[in-house]
Amino acid sequence: MDATFLLLLACGLALFGYVLGRQRAAAFTARAPSWRAVHSRPGFHGSFVALAVAIPALLLLGIWAAVGRPGPSAVGAAIVLLAGLAGGALALRRLEPSFRARTWVERATMLVLLAASVLAIVTTVGIVLSLIVESIRFFERVPVTEFLFGTRWSPQTAIRADQVGSSGAFGAVPLFWGTIFIGAIIAMAVAVPLGLLSAIYLSQYASGIARRILKPVLEVLAGVPTVVYGYFAALTVAPAVRQLGLSLGIEDASAESALAAGLVMGIMIIPFVSSMADDAINAVPQAMRDGSLAMGATSSETVRLVIIPAALPGIVGGILLAVSRAIGETMIVVMAAGLAANLTLNPFKSVTTVTAQIVQLLTGDQEFDSAKTLSAFALGLVLFLITLVLNIWALRIVKRYREAYE
């Protein structure tokens, strides 16, 4: 029997239990001498029965789905349904005016609420565990030091063992450099000044109408999917950048370049930086601004000498978050930065990044246990740890900053 169908059946059974329980409770509530004699209202009795059906049934269904996937389906289905029916029958027998159905239902609900919020931790643990487990398997084949400090990256494992370069090279330094070069240097060189200045202009100079129009426009920029940016980078920006490189006399200007990917990524991050900066600037008390203006400072002096220094922690936190986002960005670099693991300072050359390699390693034909595919998880682990540190650091700065002005 299909699992989806079984799930629906269990839910239907629970609904039936709800109706039955509610009816029974409604009956004895009507007979009761006063409403005070009945502890819970009929709806709670109904919910109690429904829970008594659903919990054992769904629990078994979950275990069944997780452990014995194929299994004897008819028997399994019967067990699931029987457990539900048994739970429902037991619950129905307990219903009586003094039964504290509401307390039970509320307790169960609290458990559900708790479980929902614990899922965040489960996800985090799941990420960490799955990355670590696969990374350990990778490091059994390739030494950690080679991975972290090696400068040659060529993960193609040869088909025959006696071929040249059959072992592949897993020195990830060119990838780390490419990631930093594109995400933290080029993209930030575009996004920080443009985002910051846009935020300053919008908050200090723009008229109310202009603000109401331009802010959503910037938000649109933030809502464009990254694959669109990637396509635009590859199709329009990269050729233009290459032309620029050639006209500057750089002969090996590549069709896929760090500059093209970094530029477009920077543009993508602008709204992010500008909204973080806007928050930080708005958190500076109006009294500060008035104080400066009343001294005869111009708006720009007020911004440069008072508001920006006061908002600096918030802005720095925002920039750190932006860096974290940029180095984790995937599609733009996959489509526009290329796959050549170059260790170069030349922005017109092709470099590759951690995320681009992860995609490259895990798509297409693959055997799951090769060092090649496992290396993607090691790269993922490094990426996760770096963004984790950046995020926590940034969030802490931003939080402390907000508290300072509250």
Binding site: G208, P285, A287, M288, R289, D290, G291, S292, L293, A294, M295, G296, A297, T298, E301, L305, V306, P309, A310
Partner: protein, 269 residues
């Protein structure tokens, strides 16, 4: 020629001038559709501390903010009428609001030192206006401003500490030092003591008395005793109108208007 020599000439010119320093004629203010100030006329002189009193929302702070055009920074505010500083219309196109605010300083209700060092707070005005030719001159200005604000002895050993680390009263005196560091002609004070404890209030009041004569001082206060203590002239505002203006002693002992008398005697407010 140094600024000081030139300034002395200006000072001499200023002292022979017997006219009121600032005049306001038929000033109206609207905040959006709200008519917040309805045709107020008043003269401000250097010799006197002028106090604006009246119940909350009576327009006294609104009027105060007209003298250095701080209402310009409020979205939707509109000011009509003529205000002159030394005979110049402050709304005239050739009047530079940056310069106006350097000449007409302001101290706010809540102390608002910048999140910078004590030194940088006081040096802020002279720096942006370029009033000091050298670092030594700037040190000089900072020291004298803090002395005049009566704060020097308390902070001279920790000028590099943050201005926000001072106590509330000290912060407010720091703000006064900051305002007088550019040597304004008028100092506007918008309820400068309402956020302070009684001892800090007494210090600020003493300071106002000391500054009188050098700067024209206008103080908005909701505290009538304070107005009586520090001012020589008092204007009483009610519902956007100036009800009565005169010598402080006269306003408090023998008001001409019934509304003023009711307010002074605590019938409302």
């Amino acid at each position: 020629m140094s600024i000081d020599t030139l300034a002395r000439v200006a000072q001499n010119q200023r002292s022979v001038d017997a006219r009121p320093l600032m005049t306001a004629r038929d000033v109206h203010v609207w905040y959006g559709p709200k008519h917040a100030l309805k045709g107020v006329s008043l003269d401000i002189t250097r010799e006197n501390v002028t106090a604006f009193i009246g119940p909350s929302g009576c327009g006294k702070s609104t009027f105060l903010r007209c003298f250095n055009r701080m209402n310009d920074t409020v979205a939707g505010a509109r000011v009509e009428g003529r205000i002159e500083l030394d005979g110049q219309d402050i709304h005239a196109p050739e009047m530079d609001v940056v310069q106006l605010r350097a000449r007409v300083g302001m101290v706010f209700q809540k102390p608002n030192p910048f999140p910078k060092s004590i030194y940088e707070n006081v040096a802020y005005g002279p720096r942006i206006h370029g009033l000091a030719a050298s670092q030594g001159e700037l040190d000089h200005i900072v020291e004298h401003s803090l002395q005049r604000a009566g704060l020097w002895d308390e902070v001279k050993d920790r000028l590099q500490d943050s201005g926000t680390a001072l106590s509330g009263g000290q912060q407010q005196r720091l703000c006064i030092a900051r305002a007088i560091a550019v040597d304004p002609e008028v100092v506007l004070m918008d309820e400068p003591c309402s956020a302070l404890d009684p001892i800090a209030t007494a210090k600020v009041e003493e300071l106002i008395e000391e500054l009188r004569g050098r700067y024209a001082i206008v103080i908005v206060t909701h505290n009538m005793q304070q107005a009586a203590r520090v001012s020589q002239k008092t204007a009483f505002f009610h519902l956007g109108e100036m009800v009565e203006y005169g010598d402080t002693s006269q306003i408090f002992t023998n008001p001409r208007e019934a509304r003023t008398r009711d307010y002074i005697t605590g019938r409302y407010g």
